[in-house]
Symmetry: C2
Subunit: 586 residues, 2 copies
């Protein structure tokens, strides 16, 4: 008889321990009703991922242990569950849990020794635990700040099948813990994940998994959490691999899912931590699951942005988003993402024209709002600009020429006053309505600092923060091809980008074309290429030097930027930690 396996791709939320218990129990019961022998959950299921410095709070750790005990007690019998939690020194969940903490010589923040662990829950008890071995401490990950690694494979027998338990990064090492589980006799390796999305990451995960199953002849169940959490988004996209390396089942992308499948994995007599019956009695015939259609590379990003935006807004108590609509491509795409995330009626579009704004921009902004069914207001900033100019008087000489009757040219101070007055207006609406402002900058702008602190950077979440400009265009076209009309006005997509902070301004007056800019940024920011390597990539040296200098200098702005979801292999923010005060160039 095959093993009936459930991949429980749930939405485990950071800090919501009680809610996570409910989510586990719900999925577990559904899996039990379907006759599953084993249900596999995600990494740190109880606490959500990443819990960060909540892990330093003793009461939080205790609540997490209580949650595991409660799950063991309340979960359905018969179906074995693998659940992620935080292990601690005082962890007496299982009587003879080994407590060997030697060999770890990084000074950790936690006073106690913590582990990133999985509990095996069966028939009312915690019957075994596993502690993660490979702790990622690069990119967005800080696991060495909290956890101690252990190097002890765990194999439990479920309905006769030896099942190895591993956690996330354990997979990304060869042979590593997955290989050791197989050596210890596992025929199916379960891998519990909280793996943040970025473009193309799915293939990397599958490649790693494939190496293991082909080497060891095992099955591998990869289960990933779903949801947005501050600056990362988890895409679910769980899968089951057979020993031939073929995917035989899949979870949805960017949505909760419970995949139940019969796995023709062999049973074996091996030394196991425990021997569990699994489901007994009748079990229903499984409906043939239709594998969800895979998203294309741009659609994947769209869904990542929508989920990240929805979760950030809703989980922080915001139903409505306010967006400054310029008529340009960035604010249009942010509004479209927000409309898909929150409903168009919960997106408040605000156009804030200055004397330099063109009529076509206003028209495009209005069409966009109309297309998504969003309320829309026009607030003229000319009068506040003049009032601020009068207050500043001679202290700011650049830009108030018209008011003061002289002919000096507008400078950066004047441009920024426009952007910042817009910030004042959207934030006033935010305070008044209890709504969140979404900022509209894209990764290319954040990279070179072409954004005004406290101006267009003002807001609570930045959906496009990790989206390079050229990809913003692709997203607009992708959305317009979804069959519900050309919602992003074609004119917005086709016109030359401009900040409209002075007459006839265009982005490419002062920046290289985005084809060049985005490639340099990708090389410099995402791949740590130096000046020489960037020039070897085919770019003009002066351009490279200029862009690199702009990127370095703008770090102080990015430190004050709103969070936004990671979608590339290196996002600004927690994933790229560079000093502001820094004399190194390149």
């Amino acid at each position: 008889m095959p093993l009936r396996l459930a991949l429980a791709q749930i939405r485990s939320q950071v800090g919501d321990i009680d809610g996570n218990v409910e989510r586990v129990l719900d999925a577990w019961r559904r899996a039990a009703d379907l006759g599953a022998d084993l249900v596999v959950f995600t990494e740190l299921t109880t606490t959500g991922y990443p819990p960060e410095d909540l892990l330093l709070k003793p009461e939080f750790l205790r609540a997490n242990l209580d949650a595991v005990r409660r799950l063991a007690t309340e979960g359905p019998h018969g179906t074995v569950a693998l659940v992620g939690y935080v292990g601690t020194e005082e962890d007496d969940l299982v009587a003879d849990d080994p407590a060997d903490h030697t060999g770890w010589e990084v000074a950790s923040a936690a006073g106690v020794s913590l582990t990133n662990s999985a509990a095996v829950l069966a028939d009312g008890a915690v019957v075994a635990t596993y502690d993660k071995f490979r702790l990622p401490n690069y990119g967005v990950f800080d696991e060495a700040r909290y956890f101690t690694p252990r190097d002890e494979p765990l194999v439990v027998r479920v309905a006769g099948v030896p099942v190895g338990v591993t956690i996330c990064e354990d997979l990304w090492l060869e042979p590593g813990p997955v290989g050791r589980a197989a050596q210890a006799g596992a025929k199916l390796v379960a891998n519990l994940n909280a793996s943040p999305y970025h473009r193309g990451k799915h293939a990397e995960r599958e490649d790693w998994a494939r190496r293991h199953v082909r080497r060891d002849g095992t099955w591998l169940a990869y289960v990933n959490v779903v949801g947005g959490q501050d600056d990362v988004v988890f895409d679910g996209d769980s899968f089951l691999l057979g020993p031939d390396g073929e995917v035989t089942a899949r979870g949805a992308q960017f949505a909760e899912d419970l995949v139940v499948v019969d796995v023709p994995v062999e049973t074996a007599e091996v030394t196991a931590a425990c021997d569990l019956d699994g489901h007994t009695g009748d079990r229903p015939v499984l409906a043939g699951q239709q594998a969800a259609e895979r998203l294309d590379p741009v659609g994947e990003v769209w869904h990542a942005l929508v989920l990240a935006t929805r979760d950030y807004c809703h989980r922080n108590g915001f139903e409505e988003a306010i967006i400054g609509l310029s008529g340009g491509i960035d604010s249009a795409v942010v509004a479209a993402v927000a409309a898909d995330a929150l409903g168009g009626e919960h997106v408040l579009g605000v156009a804030m024209p200055s004397p330099y704004s063109s009529q076509h921009s206003l028209d495009d902004a209005e069409s966009l709002a109309k297309n998504f069914g969003s309320p829309y207001h026009v607030l003229q900033i000319e009068e506040p600009m003049a009032a601020v100019g009068r207050v500043l008087g001679d202290l700011v000489v650049t830009g108030f020429g018209e008011q003061r009757g002289d002919d000096r040219e507008a400078g950066v101070a004047y441009e920024n006053i426009q952007a910042r007055l817009r910030g004042v207006l959207v934030m006033a609406l935010s305070n008044e309505r209890g709504s969140i402002v979404l900022t509209t900058g894209n990764k290319s702008e954040y990279a070179v600092g072409y954004a005004t602190l406290y101006g267009d950077m003002a807001g609570g979440f930045a959906p496009l923060k990790d989206v390079p400009k050229l990809l913003v265009y692709e997203l607009a076209r992708w959305r317009n091809a979804q069959g519900d009309g050309e919602l992003v006005p074609v004119n917005t997509i086709e016109k030359a980008p401009s900040a409209e902070l002075r007459p006839d301004q265009r982005d490419d007056d002062s920046l290289p074309p985005y084809e060049i800019l985005d490639d340099i940024i990708e090389g410099y920011v995402e791949r740590d290429l130096g000046l020489r390597a960037l020039v070897e990539r085919g770019h003009d040296e002066a351009t490279v030097r200029r862009v690199v200098q702009l990127v370095d200098r703008a770090e102080y702005k990015r430190r004050q930027a709103a969070p936004g979801p990671k979608v590339t292999c290196r996002a600004f923010g927690r994933e790229r930690r560079v000093p502001m005060t820094n004399d190194w160039q390149g």
Copy 2:
């Protein structure tokens, strides 16, 4: 003959590899001129500390290795130098450097294996290297993100004295690498540091050092770097401990120093990595060094703020700071710090009264500027407030009652418009003059979110970010007692604090008294006390709940705050990493 030892407490700057080479050579030559046998520098001398993700750049790593080679070549002969640098796998500085990287199971960001190392430079060559064992990865530290630990003591003989080499956190473990160096025969242990300041940290360092020397009967030379680096400040404050645990020499606090001292440490025949002559020939008689007077606990903080502010401003190219002066205590102390850091004439004070500002506030602001010899402007915000109110019209109903002839009460939107228009004005001056805006918020305000994003939070550096309100008062009084007059107006210190955003507003209308607030914040933020523990500390439960909730909710604001120097044992920012989206309370 005693060993002549130099503690080279230099200013090593992040990313300034060439400059750091010059600083080392300068101090080394001065030490050689004074006949020193050994000069001890600081941790990661070549790169500055913390280099963060610059460590992922291959060209940066190569430049760092070149710097060590250049130092070896150009340094004076006779005087042995210990210099911190980044070791890499391809590091062929010393021919038979062991390359054993096993046993490390944290997945690191760097593609190569890096070490936090010290080089022994003598007579034109790198003669030995040591790799740090204990890598801090808590608080502000991320060393496991970059480095591999090694557990191999290094003892070199200098003028017959066995000298053990250790790096920073190696000290904070018993017996640890310091003990192992002594076991390997060291009579003097050198400890190279980049140890960020916080209040009372000096005693902790000395206590650790004392344990080692008393246990092992050795001498210990603790050498720490000096300077501000983004959100930490290094205080120097190097010291030499004798085997009895007494401090026999000390470096300055918050200033560069080269301490040269004759150490009556015994020579010994031990197995050492190398045997170096040290200084040969005549050496001058050392002038009796006058130990610098120790700063008192408040003066220590003052100097930390001044150094941090000066370095942030100057290293980022700013000569002048702009400060919004409200007449209140926070902006007064920030202005005083800035005046001490940059010179009073480089501080531009700007009062921006609204209709709710009192005349005494304006008077106090003006006196303060005058006392520090700072230029001062008054910019009335009433007219821009009215203009913004007219633009918002019916969209913001709270607060524009007067203009619109109704009697609805001013709300948070209206209050924030005032703060944000002030942000617009100071930032316009910043853009126009190329000056930095210093924000004036203190730790108590950042904690509970009593600060306006893009308003009073607008600026490049936040000197008081980690200074609780009660300590702000102590700082003002301390500065007034320095003998150059009561520069901070007494009225500013004595009046009840108010944001003056509506008539007769006082901080304690909506917050508990600062005696209570600061204590709860200290317990919750710096010590991870939960609700129960805070109540047990003697606080009212409802007050505790309210404060804790305010702190949790304000995390999103702090993520967009300017950097400011750490002066307590846990600062906001990189030292306290908590999720914004988080359902856990307490």
